[in-house]
Structure formats: structure tokens, C-alpha cells
Symmetry: C2
Subunit: 418 residues, 2 copies
């Protein structure tokens, strides 16, 4: 069968399964999640064997060590996958929820009902745990999903797909609700993102290159996250007891995450004190500092930042620093060079804080908190399928709700339009 026919068959099955998933009750969905968790634990040995075969092949193909690391499935990674499914089972079911009913002058009552999006296509790279996380979120939100993992994790993804399928079957839900594309043919991605008849939304997870390519070519809406050039702005009135730990934590808690601070902005009035204190902290952690001219005058250890630095997501122990005249300059810098992901102000001035959160055009805006809090679990979503830097549909951490839509419901009593 040609790749085109294969994808159309998968799409048709997904569409049919999505109608059944949309009306599945909460109990059945939770049973499928818990049963899959059990199967994952019971089949640990088989999963590790499949993963080892993937790893062997990847080594032969000369995959970089960093990518090999992400590909490896440890005992604890397997347990985390199972626990993740059990956590999703514990979340409230968003589907069917009716809200916002109002009586209208005509006599009708108008409200909204939360419903699944339909079929979600998920395209991702190395990490096999995405297979299980994404399947779990789609099951709970009543969607069907078509998963396309990286070719380097092929065997492990297929093994996981089989277990999810068994979990669905045990709960009398359609096995086609979760399909993992079983070909490594690259043309499959091109097909998947251009089948609006069968796929309602695409969620790409991976490097910026992958996501840009998918956004450019997709004929289906894409919920995407490009990059995280996040800022902390330390205002004139900042409480140093808050500012220093926040600037430290935002940069050094983890270097490789999208909500890590990449640029620190400091009000000129407090720049000397702030930079001296922070330079000590960053030095002990070997963070390389790249500064504007005013920063360099205060910190001889810093090297000169280039124009490119201001829009770079380092994902590494590197920080760019700029001294600004005032709040306006800070906001303008963030809106110009940032990636609309997460930005935080440290201030004791109420009006400045409120202006910052209103005027900074980012998915998450914060006052006196570390940028590292921008995360589905920390926000109380229970789980996340990604963080969106788009403005349409879902913005910021995307949990179950981001995989749903609301339709209008009208309760009448025989009303007709006059």
C-alpha cells in the first residue's frame, strides 16, 4: 500500500474512533488509562529490550550522545510513564461540562458545552515517553490521536502503542483511538499535516527546525511552541531578598528548559548592587555573562553581548544582561527581542507590576516569581501536552482544556425567531 493510502486509512479509522471517544464516559476513559499503566509496569522487560534495539541501531547510525541520552528508557522513566497515566486518570473529565447558561430575551437559554477537538496529530522526536503522555491526554480529553514518533525510537514506540491499544480494549474503547504510524517513511509527516478531513489539529514537539517546517507546510491548525527567550526585569523598587534568588533560580535551576531565563534586564538605579551580588552567584555555577556596555562597565568579567544575543535561546549556562533606563525600556526590549513565552518583573511598585503584566505580550507574565514556574503542573493543569507561544486557541501551558473546544448549546421551549 502506498504511504498516501496508508495515511488515509489511518485517518479514516481515527475519525471513526473519535466519534466513539467523544461520547465515552469518564469511567471507561480512566479504566483505559489505569490498565495501560499496569501493562507498562508488567511489560518493563519487553519495553527495555525494544529500547535497547533502538539504541543499538542509533549508535550504529552515529546518533549524538545527547540524543542517545534522550532516547534511553530507564526503569524510573518507565515508572514515571505509568504514574503519569494514573495522574491523568485522577484529573477531572472536562468533556460534556456545561457552563455559562444565560436566559435571553427571546426565551431561549444559551450556554456552552466542552467537547473534544476530534483527531489530534502529534509529531515528536526522540523521547518515547511522549507516546504515552500524549496518548493519555488525548484519551482523557475524548480525542482520537495519530502519533508519529522519531524513527530512532521506532521499536519502543511500537511496543508502547501495543500496550495502549490493549488498555483501550480492556475498557471497551476503540483501539483506533490511539494509532502510532508504523512506517519511518518521512513522507508520512507531510501527509499527516495536510489532511484537514481527518486531522483537526497538529501538535509538534521537538526542535525549532521541526516545528518551523511543520508550521510552514501544515494545512491543519498547529498548536506550537517555538522557543523560550524568557526575561527577568529587576525594577528600581525591587526587594533584593526576592530579586537575587529569582534571577538565580530563573537561570540556574535548569539550563535546558524553555522557561529558563535567557536575558536579565536591570534598572539602572539598582544595577550596581544587583550585578555585583548576582555575579558572585553565577560565577560559582560557571554561568557565562554577556552584557551591554553599561553591564560591562560594572562587571569586568562579562563579555560583550552582540545584537544576536538578545534573541538567542541559549539552553546553556550563558546569560545576556542589559541595564535599562526604566520600565518602558524593559517592556519594549522584551516585546522586541523575546519569544512571547514567559517574562517576570521583580518590583515592589504596584503600578509598575500591573503595567508589566498588561503590556508584556507573552503567554505567561509574572510579578515576583521565577520564570521556571511556567509549567502545566505548577499552574495546576495536572499535565501538559506542551507550551504554546501562539495566541490563537491555546496560550501558555496546554493541558486537557487545550485539547477541547466549546460549542454553543441552546435550550428552547418551542421558540421561533420573530
Amino acid at each position: 500500500m502506498s504511504i498516501e493510502h496508508t495515511l488515509i486509512e489511518i485517518g479514516k479509522k481515527a475519525r471513526a474512533a473519535s466519534a466513539l471517544m467523544a461520547r465515552a464516559n469518564t469511567d471507561a476513559k480512566n479504566r483505559a488509562l489505569r490498565e495501560t499503566a499496569r501493562l507498562i509496569r508488567d511489560n518493563k522487560a519487553a519495553l527495555k529490550a525494544a529500547n535497547q534495539a533502538d539504541l543499538d541501531k542509533a549508535k550504529t547510525n552515529g546518533l549524538e550522545p545527547a540524543l542517545l541520552d534522550r532516547l534511553a528508557l530507564s526503569d524510573s522513566a518507565i515508572e514515571t510513564m505509568a504514574e503519569g497515566l494514573e495522574q491523568i486518570a485522577q484529573l477531572p473529565d472536562p468533556i460534556g461540562e456545561m457552563t455559562d447558561f444565560k436566559n435571553r430575551p427571546s426565551g431561549i437559554q444559551v450556554g456552552k458545552m466542552r467537547v473534544p477537538l476530534g483527531v489530534i496529530g502529534i509529531i515528536y522526536e526522540s523521547r518515547p515517553n511522549v507516546t504515552v503522555d500524549a496518548a493519555g491526554l488525548c484519551i482523557k480529553s475524548g480525542n482520537a490521536t495519530i502519533l508519529r514518533g522519531g524513527s530512532e525510537a521506532f521499536l519502543c514506540n511500537q511496543a508502547l502503542a501495543k500496550l495502549v491499544s490493549q488498555g483501550l480494549e480492556a475498557a471497551c474503547l476503540p483501539q483506533d483511538a490511539v494509532q502510532v504510524i508504523d512506517t519511518t517513511d518521512r513522507a508520512a509527516v507531510g501527509m499527516l499535516i495536510t489532511m484537514p478531513e481527518y486531522v483537526d489539529v497538529i501538535v509538534p514537539r521537538g526542535g525549532k527546525g521541526l516545528i518551523e517546517r511543520i508550521s510552514r507546510d501544515a494545512r491543519v491548525p498547529v498548536i506550537k511552541h517555538l522557543d523560550g527567550v524568557c526575561h527577568v526585569f529587576i525594577d528600581e523598587s525591587a526587594d533584593m531578598e526576592k530579586a537575587i534568588p529569582i534571577a538565580d533560580n530563573s537561570k540556574t535551576h535548569r539550563y535546558g528548559t524553555c522557561n529558563t531565563m535567557e536575558t536579565l534586564l536591570v534598572h539602572q538605579a539598582v544595577a550596581k548592587q544587583v550585578l555585583n551580588e548576582l555575579a558572585v552567584r553565577y560565577a560559582t555555577k560557571q554561568v557565562e555573562l554577556r552584557g551591554c556596555p553599561r553591564t560591562m562597565a560594572l562587571l569586568p568579567s562579562a563579555i560583550a553581548a552582540t545584537e544576536e544575543d538578545w534573541s538567542t535561546e541559549y539552553l546553556a549556562p550563558v546569560l545576556s544582561i542589559k541595564v535599562v533606563d526604566n520600565l518602558d525600556q524593559a517592556i519594549a526590549h522584551i516585546n522586541q527581542y523575546g519569544s512571547h513565552h514567559t517574562d517576570s518583573i521583580v518590583t515592589e511598585n504596584h503600578s509598575n507590576g500591573m503595567r508589566f503584566i498588561r503590556e508584556v505580550d507573552s503567554a505567561s507574565v509574572m510579578i515576583n516569581a521565577s520564570t521556571r514556574f511556567a509549567d502545566g503542573f505548577e499552574y495546576g493543569l495536572g499535565a501538559e501536552i506542551g507550551i504554546s507561544t501562539d495566541k490563537i486557541h491555546a496560550r501558555g501551558p496546554v493541558g486537557l482544556e487545550g485539547l477541547t473546544s466549546q460549542k454553543y448549546v441552546v435550550f428552547g421551549h418551542g421558540e421561533i425567531r420573530k
Copy 2:
């Protein structure tokens, strides 16, 4: 200047204006709306002269009479535009509204703030009133907008744009917040829908051909409405005192609107009674009936419906009718042939009604009400920029809220991530 440069200049101005609009206060936005309403009334003669020049040219070019009708700007149409702006001024301002704050175990408080989308591109055909309606909704929702009207309404749209611009100026808001593209070059549309740097969302308003073309070529998200193949299903337990008026009103209240019923589904148990009663009503209004074989057996006046009829939006006094065995068949028919716009069940059976609204995959689902209620004003949105048949972002009638997005707001007290 080349068309490309012109559009980029317009895009840059819109982007700059959108930052100012996003923080404009409610009073200034309302002042701009009311001032524009006043200017429209004061300049009625000039608007009618511009419209007459457009009409003369359109006649010379041989525009169809139906399109000439839509192009004509009567005294009452001018008054309706002015009143529309005043109504938008009276609506609550959605921007800056903060909701859903929750305390998290880490100590942070997480909530959401409603913000504008940024720059909205609106592409529309004949009717010049869209210029004013769309401008008004974008101003109130704090967005900048780039409008591209039909070439046949060019002079009138330019005259209206000038008045909106004066209204913005009077309220000290940026005149570039509303720009009407002042070229009839068709390449302008192609540019506008492929500039994600400058345009955040496109709203096309017009015929299905226009919308399909824009959806296919856009590199910017599109909020769109394709067509309205709406259904009424008269269930076995329907109250005939409700069913007959609803089926009559849904079809005959207005023929040319997207929420008009195009297919009537009738449960076999009540088909004879329902069809006999309705045939009399439809006959007095000269509605042509096209039926399935069972319908034709009951109504000799009906002609045979073809497969194509079930998915046709007639926008005319034509109705297709199908007798179905049960609720399941009705739901399956709607989900297969409908356009996911608006569908209504007439029933006294609670469980059937609840299944219908849950399982019919449409933007508006109704129990015992006319499909004609699917409308921003009837739903209490105050105004609408269109009706979306998409599932992503906005579904059903799109009012001010559909032109906004929500960002996450975090209030901390110095919290860092452990």
C-alpha cells in the same frame, strides 16, 4: 512603491498601533466609536456620493443585480452602521479582565488576563458596512486591523476609512489602528495572508470560494465560516405545537442566511403527520421540497433528492427532507452531511435531547428552538464578526471575545522553583 512594500509598511504601522491599542483605556475606545458614529451621520451625503460612484462603475462593469443590491448604501444602512458602533461602545470591555485565580502549593497565585490578539486582517466582499462593523469590533477589543474590502466598493470603503480615522484621532488613539488597503491590486490579499510577522489572524467574510482560497493559501491562522447546512430533526416524541413552527421558521424566516435549515429530518413514527402539516405551510410560501424515497411516498408533491442535495446549502426556498428510523440515524446523517454549523432537535424526550447536543458535532446544538437563533445578537454577544465553523479558538458566533486571547498571570511573593 511595489505592492509588497506597501503591505509591509501597512503591517509595520498596524503592529506599532496594536501595542498602543492594547493598553488604551475603555473610555478612549468608546469615545472613538461614538465619534465615528457621529461622523458617519454627519457625512451621509458624501458617503452616498462615494457609494453612487462605486455603483455606476459596477454597472458599467456589468456586476450582477444581486451584487449591486448588496453594494448599495441606503439611508437606513448608514444609520444602522452608526447605531452598530454605539452598541459596541455600550458592550463591556473584555480587555484586561482577570479571572480564575488559584493559589498553588508553591505559594504563587495563577490566573488569566484577557488581551487582544494583536493585528486582525479582514478580507470581505461587496457590503461596505463590514468596514465599519469590523473596525468597531477591533477597536473595542484593543486590536489593530487591516481591512481589505471588495474592489467594487472601493470609494465608499475609503470614505468610511477616513471617518474611522478621524474618530480615532478625536479619541487620541493611533489612526493606524484601522487601515483600509488603498489599492485594488489582487496581490495585496496574497501578501496580507502570508505575513505572520505583522498579522495575527485573518477573518475572511464572503462566498465559499473566497474563503476556501484564503484558507488554502494563508500562513496566518484563519477564523472562518464555510457554509451552513443546518438541520432540524423532529423526533418521535416531539410536541407538534413546537415542531411545526420551528421547522417552518427555521426554513422560511429568511432564506439567504447561514443559520437557515437546509435539511429536515423526521422520525418515521411521526413522518406522516409532520410532513402533511408542513407541506401545507411550505406550499403557501412556494418552498420546493426534495425528498428521500419515504418522503416521496408521503408527499407526492416532493421531487427526488439526489445524494448531492444532502450537503447543499440552498440559500433559497428549497428544502431537502429525509425520513429516518431513529435518533442514531439522525445524528449520523447530520455529522456526515452537515457543515457543523447549527442543528436542532425537537423532542420531549430528555435523554434523546441530551444525546443530540452531546453527539452532534456542530458549533451550535439546540433543543426545541429554531436554528435561526444561532447569531451573535440572539446569543447575547452584542455583536458578531462572523460565525466560525472551525473548532480551534472560536466556534459558533464570534463576538468581541473571539478577537481576544488569555495569557497566564502569576502573582508571586519571591517564590523560586525547588
